[in-house]
C-alpha cells in the first residue's frame, strides 16, 4: 500500500475495529480476542478437553447396541420356541458383541497392546470400567451360548448330553439378554457422565436413545436376514415410536448456549437426521408395510445419530462459553 491519508485512515479504522470488537475479520491473521478478550473465557481456549475418540467409537456404539439387544430377542425367541430366529439373533450377538465390538474398542485405544489392563480393576464409579466388564460378560455368554444352541439344533450329540446342551444354551442366552441390555444402554451413561456440556445435560435421554436404537437395530437386521415375523415388526414399531418421542424431547429440551452444539451447530444436524431416519421415517415406512425400507432407514438412523453424538461432543467440549453457560443448570 502506498503512503497517503487513505492508507492511514484504513489503519485507524482497523485499530478502532480491533479495540471495539476485539476481532478484525479480513485478510491476514484473524486475531480472535487479542489483545483484550471480548468474550468470556481465556482467548477462546477450551475449558474442558473435547473427546479424543475417532470413528471407531460411534461404530462400536452401533454394533454393540445391536448385538446386546439381539441377546434379548434371542431370549424371547427361545421362550416362544422360535429356534431359527434365536440362532440368527445369537449369531448377530456373537459376531457384533464378541468380535466387532472388541476389535473397534481396541483399535481406538492409544496403546492397543495394553487392552487387557481394562480388566485390571473393577470400578463401579467408572462407566468405562463397567462397560469393559459388561462387554466381557456378554461375550462370555454369547459365544458359548451360540455354540451350545447350534450343537443342540443340529442334534450333534445324543441323549443326555444334548439335554445338557439345551439347558446350557438356555441359561447362556438369558445371560446374553441381561448383559446385552446393559451393553446397549451403558454407552449412554458413558458419555452422559462426563464434563462435556452437550452430553451431561442430556444424560437421561442418551441411555434411552442408545438402548432403543440398539433394540430397533437388532430387529431390523434380523428382518433383513429374512425373519419377517410380526413379533419383530412390533419391536420395530416400538423402537421407531420411542425414537420419534426422543426427537420431540430433544427439540424441546434446550439449554441455551450450554448445548448449542446440538441446536445451532452443523454436527447437531447429524443427530436430527439420524433421529428422523430411525424415528418418524421408519415409523411411516413400517406403517405402510415397507418393512425392508423401514429396517434400512432405522439402521442408518441408528448409525448416523451415534456419529452425531460424538461429533457434538467434540464441538461442545471445544466451546468455552458452553461450559460457563452449563454452570447455571
Amino acid at each position: 500500500m502506498t503512503n497517503g491519508p487513505q492508507a492511514e485512515q484504513r489503519l485507524e479504522q482497523l485499530r478502532e475495529e480491533a479495540w471495539k470488537k476485539g476481532v478484525v475479520p479480513g485478510k491476514g491473521v484473524d486475531v480472535a480476542g487479542g489483545p483484550i478478550p471480548r468474550k468470556p473465557g481465556y482467548y477462546g481456549q477450551p475449558v474442558v478437553k473435547p473427546p479424543v475418540w475417532t470413528w471407531e467409537i460411534p461404530l462400536y456404539f452401533f454394533f454393540g447396541g445391536m448385538a446386546g439387544m439381539s441377546g434379548v430377542i434371542a431370549s424371547g425367541a427361545i421362550i416362544f420356541h422360535q429356534v431359527d430366529l434365536a440362532r440368527a439373533a445369537m449369531w448377530v450377538a456373537a459376531v457384533g458383541g464378541a468380535v466387532l465390538s472388541p476389535i473397534l474398542l481396541i483399535m481406538d485405544l492409544g496403546r492397543p497392546h495394553l487392552f487387557l489392563n481394562m480388566l485390571r480393576v473393577f470400578k463401579h464409579r467408572s462407566a468405562m470400567s463397567m462397560g469393559a466388564w459388561i462387554l466381557s460378560a456378554f461375550g462370555a455368554c454369547a459365544v458359548p451360548g451360540l455354540i451350545a444352541l447350534e450343537l443342540h439344533a443340529h442334534q450333534i450329540f445324543p441323549g443326555t448330553l444334548d439335554q445338557l446342551l439345551r439347558v446350557a444354551a438356555g441359561l447362556l442366552i438369558f445371560g446374553s439378554a441381561i448383559f446385552g441390555t446393559l451393553l446397549a444402554t451403558y454407552t449412554g451413561v458413558l458419555i452422559g457422565a462426563t464434563a462435556i456440556p452437550a452430553w451431561f445435560l442430556h444424560r437421561t435421554l442418551l441411555p434411552i436413545h442408545f438402548g432403543t436404537a440398539g433394540l430397533g437395530s437388532a430387529a431390523a437386521v434380523l428382518e433383513l436376514l429374512g425373519h419377517r415375523i410380526p413379533a419383530l415388526n412390533f419391536i420395530g414399531f416400538y423402537a421407531a415410536g420411542v425414537e420419534t418421542a426422543l426427537l420431540v424431547w430433544l427439540s424441546v429440551d434446550k439449554h441455551g448456549a450450554a448445548d448449542r452444539a446440538i441446536h445451532d451447530h452443523g454436527s447437531g444436524w447429524l443427530i436430527r437426521i439420524g433421529e428422523v431416519l430411525n424415528g418418524p421415517l421408519a415409523l411411516v415406512l413400517r406403517f405402510f408395510a415397507f418393512i425392508p425400507f423401514a429396517a434400512i432407514s432405522f439402521l442408518l438412523g441408528a448409525l448416523v445419530s451415534r456419529i452425531g453424538w460424538i461429533a457434538v461432543g467434540k464441538v461442545s467440549g471445544a466451546d468455552p462459553e458452553s461450559v460457563f453457560a452449563a454452570e447455571h443448570y
Binding site: 483484550i36 492409544g110 444424560r203 437421561t204 416400538y238 467440549g317
Partner: protein
C-alpha cells in the same frame, strides 16, 4: 511472606511422602513476571516433548492451554481493568485502564478427581501426599479421563511424539518428592509466585495474601479453590484477580460422577422397557 529466598519451603528438603503429609501448590499471579521458567523446568525435568512452536496470535501466550505435553502453562491475560492502585500508561486516547496478568496454570490435583474416578485401568492413583498421579506404564490410552476432567487438564499424547498414546498430565514431580525434593516448577520460580508446601499452611498463606492485597487496593483479588462444589477443593489452588472465567477456570467445576445416578436409572429403565417390549412382541404377535 514473599521472597523468603533460601529459607522458603520451595528450597528446603522435605519428607512429606514418607510422613504422608498433604501438600499443594499456591500460585500467585500478582508476583508472577511471566518468565516461563516453570514451563521450561517442567519440560526439562520430566522430559516432556515439545508441542510445537506456534504463536496463538492472542496476547504473548504461545503455549495455549494445558495438555499432554504442557504441564505448566503461563497465561498472559490482558484486561481493561486497573491492577490494584497501579497507574498504567495510556492504551488509547481516552486512557482506559489496563492490566497484564500472568498466571502459571497447572493440574489442580482435585480432592475428588474426575480423571481418577473415570480411569478403567487403575492407572490413575492418589499418592501419599494427596496428589493425583498417572502411572504411564499401566495407561492404555482409552481417553475416558480426557472427557472426565472438569478443568480440561489431562490429554492423550498424539503420534508421533515420544510415549504417544497414553494420557499425560502434571505428576506433581512425584519422583522428586519421593527423594525429598521440591517440584521442579516451584524450585525454579524466581519470585515465588509458585509456592510448594503443606496444604494447610498454603491455604492459610493464601487467605493472608488475599487480605494483604485487598488492603493495598487489589479489590478483586480472591482465591480460586472450589471447595463448595462436588470437586471439594483443589490441591493446586490459585489467587486470581477478577472472575475465574477470564482464566479459563470454570466457576463451579463438578466431578462427572455426580451425573452417574440419573444416567444409570435411565439405562436400567430402558433395559427393562426393552425386555418387556420384546416379550410383548412375541407373546401377542406370534
Amino acid at each position: 511472606m514473599i521472597g523468603e529466598g533460601l529459607q522458603s519451603t520451595n528450597q528446603r528438603k522435605h519428607s512429606y511422602v514418607r510422613d504422608h503429609v498433604e501438600v499443594g501448590f499456591f500460585t500467585d499471579p500478582t508476583v508472577c513476571i511471566g518468565c516461563k521458567a516453570c514451563e521450561v523446568a517442567c519440560k526439562e525435568w520430566n522430559q516432556v516433548p515439545d508441542d510445537g512452536f506456534t504463536w496463538s496470535g492472542n496476547s504473548y501466550d504461545n503455549t495455549g492451554h494445558l495438555g499432554a505435553s504442557t504441564w505448566r502453562h503461563v497465561m498472559f491475560l490482558e484486561q481493561d481493568r486497573p491492577k490494584g492502585n497501579q497507574v498504567a500508561g495510556p492504551m488509547s486516547l481516552d486512557q482506559d485502564p489496563f492490566r497484564w496478568v500472568f498466571l502459571s496454570d497447572v493440574c489442580k490435583h482435585c480432592e475428588e478427581a474426575g480423571c481418577l474416578e473415570a480411569c478403567p485401568t487403575g492407572s490413575i492413583v492418589r499418592t501419599e501426599v494427596g496428589s493425583v498421579l498417572v502411572q504411564n506404564d499401566v495407561c492404555n490410552g482409552c481417553g475416558y479421563c480426557v472427557v472426565s476432567c472438569p478443568f480440561g487438564v489431562i490429554d492423550r499424547r498424539p503420534e508421533p511424539l515420544h510415549d504417544a498414546g497414553g494420557a499425560f498430565k502434571c505428576t506433581f514431580c512425584y519422583d522428586r518428592q519421593k527423594s525429598g525434593l521440591v517440584p521442579a516448577c516451584a524450585k525454579v520460580c524466581p519470585t515465588e509466585s509458585i509456592v510448594f508446601g503443606r496444604l494447610d499452611d498454603l491455604r492459610a498463606r493464601g487467605a493472608k495474601r488475599v487480605e494483604q492485597l485487598q488492603q493495598s487496593g487489589y479489590k478483586d483479588a480472591q482465591l480460586y479453590d472450589p471447595t463448595e462444589t462436588s470437586v471439594r477443593g483443589i490441591h493446586a489452588f490459585f489467587l486470581i484477580l477478577g472472575e475465574p472465567e477470564a482464566y479459563g477456570l470454570p466457576p463451579k467445576p463438578q466431578i462427572p460422577t455426580i451425573y452417574l445416578k440419573s444416567a444409570w436409572i435411565s439405562a436400567f429403565a430402558t433395559a427393562i422397557a426393552s425386555i418387556i417390549a420384546t416379550l410383548a412382541g412375541f407373546a401377542f404377535f406370534s
